[in-house]
Point group: none
Chain length 157, copies 2
């Protein structure tokens, strides 16, 4: 258990031990450099460099850089010459209003309710109300279900 703890927290343990050694060295150097007034700068610089080196070493250990910028060519599965047109028949049958469709589209794009409210210049409560109405009409219980169903019905792209 304690050995496991050492395995997992090796860096921290090594840092602790290193710090102890450095502090000991610091104390020891302190006794020597107090004698020489002119050596003050050298001493201060020495501890700065020492601790800086330790900081760098530790930071490199702690933070492995990860590959992060990913450029991906993506294929859109749609013929560009044919713009998406909502399934008007389904919209009529469901009784989905223009505003509700608008809200649904923004939901599908991943916006929060607050975000949608701000985009449409209305209150958060309004969006929640629209949401409930949308779910009712689509007979679903959540936005992800609504989005899934709406795409299948051809209400949104």
């Amino acid at each position: 258990m304690i050995f496991q703890g050492f395995r997992k927290n090796k860096t921290i343990w090594l840092y602790g031990v290193s710090l102890a050694i450095l502090l000991f060295l610091l104390k020891w150097l302190e006794l020597r450099f107090v004698i020489y007034d002119h050596a003050f700068e050298i001493y201060a610089g020495a501890i700065a460099v020492l601790f800086t080196s330790l900081g760098i070493w530790l930071a490199i250990k702690l933070t492995r850089p990860k590959v992060k910028t990913v450029i991906i060519e993506k294929e859109i599965y749609r013929d560009p010459s044919i713009p998406f047109v909502p399934n008007g028949k389904a919209l009529d049958q469901l009784g989905m209003s223009k505003r509700e469709l608008e809200v649904l589209k923004l939901m599908a794009e991943g916006h929060t309710n607050q975000g949608i409210a701000e985009a449409l210049f209305v209150s958060l409560n309004t969006i929640k109300t629209h949401g409930s109405r949308i779910f009712e009409k689509l007979d679903v219980k959540s936005r992800t279900q609504a989005i899934d169903k709406a795409k299948k019905l051809g209400l949104i792209a």
Copy 2:
């Protein structure tokens, strides 16, 4: 070569510059603390902690770039009669695991986390963990954003 060196060791170079600034500050503070003999230990300890902290902070800050996905949209026509095949290239580049893709698919179908957990015979906590990982890799903050992006990238149908 030297430029490459800079690129590779960005943290170290930036830290070096920061160190120069700190050393200047050190010199300036030096003139003040020389007056007080009893402040010596405090001063030394202060610079040690300061330099170590700065090193750690800088390195962590600069070696944790955010996941950034740049999407270049290339519209092509897809024949609906051809069954959907996930974009393996994008999956590899994003580092998306099989399990994560599995969870993402079930999310897109509108399942709750608990529902997904039950479907995959794991704990709710596990699904939450996978969720976080998926969001991280897609650089999104919610499941709806993740789903939207995954569809655009061709990761899911």
